[in-house]
Amino acid sequence: MAPLKIEVSGLGYAVGGVEILKSVDAGMQGGEITAVVGPSGAGKSTLLRAINRLIEPSSGEVYLDGRPTSALDPLELRRRVGMVFQIPAVFGDSVEEAVLYGVRLSGKNADPGRLLEMVGLDASLAGRDPQSLSVGQQQRVTMARTLALEPEALLLDEPTSALDEAARRRIEELVGDLNARLGLTMVFVSHDLVQVERVADRVIVLAEGRSVGAWDKEDFFSGAGERARQFIAGRL
């Protein structure tokens, strides 16, 4: 199966009279890691939630391989486009239960040991209380439970911002590794340009609810993206 292509067109989102997204156009190529960067309040997390329709856009559309997501069953959409959040919210009495939560909802099963190893955790952790794990390990558990659904794309909302430097680097490596091994299309929100340079293939810049531009990583971190980088650096 060819990697999933995500396109966002004229996307807007308002809540309580406040426009969080005004108009966002963006393309995420299949199998690539696209970083979404921008000052805080730019609408980065909101954009991710609109892509898997955890929120309903007020205008515009998101397309998966050219098909509008408004026509898809939202539960099916979320299984195809998985999401990893900033702060891991792990539930269940054991790591195994936590990892299999989503799979079991759809009446299926999976091998928890294999999933844990996929995210670099020891399979022997399966019986542990997830709350006894470090935050970095918990974040891996949330990645494992998302991967259990065999998604075609992964939305990562600042997945390392709650982690220390070492754990952060390990998650970055894992993201790169999963992208290479599974051919997953990934959208990675980050406020750390150094991290973006390590992880991303492409960069999309948002500001005040609008898409400002998109660059290949090499261009963004050379002369072409200079102004955008200075703009973000000055606003972080």
């Binding site: 939202p74 099916e76 989503g102 909802l105 759809s106």
Partner: protein, 258 residues
């Protein structure tokens, strides 16, 4: 029928309220105003309901009883909805839940001929069912509202894994129902050992046979367990939907609570 003038000596028990007021003043609890309001309101409300019940007893008309109970359900729903603040459609949810609890339990008691269809039984029993169901409704609604706000990340994470709204909110619903039911379950377990329920105390003091008082008390306890469970479960099932869209999205919290 004794009229209210014979209440004179009973009002001397206000001396006990004075103890509470003094305590409040002395310890700066800032409750004396509330105590005053409670005393006046309870006096006026009880006096009024006494006259109303007396009047309805005189009518010997079951329609008047039903009307009074319906009024009590609406007032209970209003009180519960006010308590539940910004839960959308709280009044409707509470009215349906409390009303269903009253109809189901009183209906069963009447159908099985456990109590006769007279005002003397239906009004006090209905009052108990409605009052307790109202408390359960308020507790369940406020709990769900607070937990959905507090556990947003968990609920959203579950939705992101393909959970329906119902599945995502299931742990919250479970806790809310437990919280609403446990006090009554515990009170039922310990009844007769630790405290004698009000209805039974009243009957014994009024000179009824203690065994007859027990018989009625058992009816009351089981009726309350049933009605409170019905009210809590209905409130849970009806109110959680207000926090989600039909497309299994958490509604954004209104600006006032953010």
């Amino acid at each position: 029928m004794a009229d209210l003038q014979t209440l004179g000596p009973a009002l001397l028990t206000l001396g006990l309220v004075a103890v509470a007021v003094v305590l409040s003043l002395y310890e700066k609890l800032d409750l004396e105003k509330d105590i005053g309001v409670a005393v006046v309101r309870s006096f006026l409300q009880l006096a009024a309901i006494g006259y109303v019940i007396n009047f309805i007893f005189g009518l010997k008309n079951i329609g008047a009883v039903v009307l009074l109970l319906a009024g009590m359900v609406l007032f209970a729903a209003w009180t519960s909805a006010r308590r539940a603040g910004d839960v959308p459609r709280a009044f409707l949810v509470a009215a349906v839940a409390v009303g269903a609890a009253a109809v189901a339990t009183l209906g069963l008691l009447l159908t099985l001929r456990i109590v006769p269809a007279t005002a003397r039984y239906l009004i006090p029993l209905g009052g108990m069912v409605i009052g307790n169901s109202m408390n359960a409704a308020s507790l369940t609604m406020t709990r769900i509202r607070d937990d959905v706000a507090e556990q947003r990340p968990k609920v959203e994470a579950a939705l992101a894994l393909g959970a329906t709204s119902r599945q995502a909110v299931a742990p919250i619903l479970r806790t809310a129902l437990q919280r609403a039911l446990i006090p009554l379950i515990d009170a039922t377990k310990t009844t007769g050992l630790i405290f004698l329920p009000g209805a039974m105390v009243g009957m014994i003091i009024a000179g009824a046979d203690p065994l007859e008082a027990v018989r009625l008390q058992i009816v009351v306890l089981y009726m309350l367990l049933g009605s409170v469970s019905i009210a809590a479960i209905l409130v849970g099932t009806l109110s959680y939907r207000a926090f989600f869209t039909p497309r299994h999205q958490l509604r954004r919290a209104p600006p006032s609570t953010e």
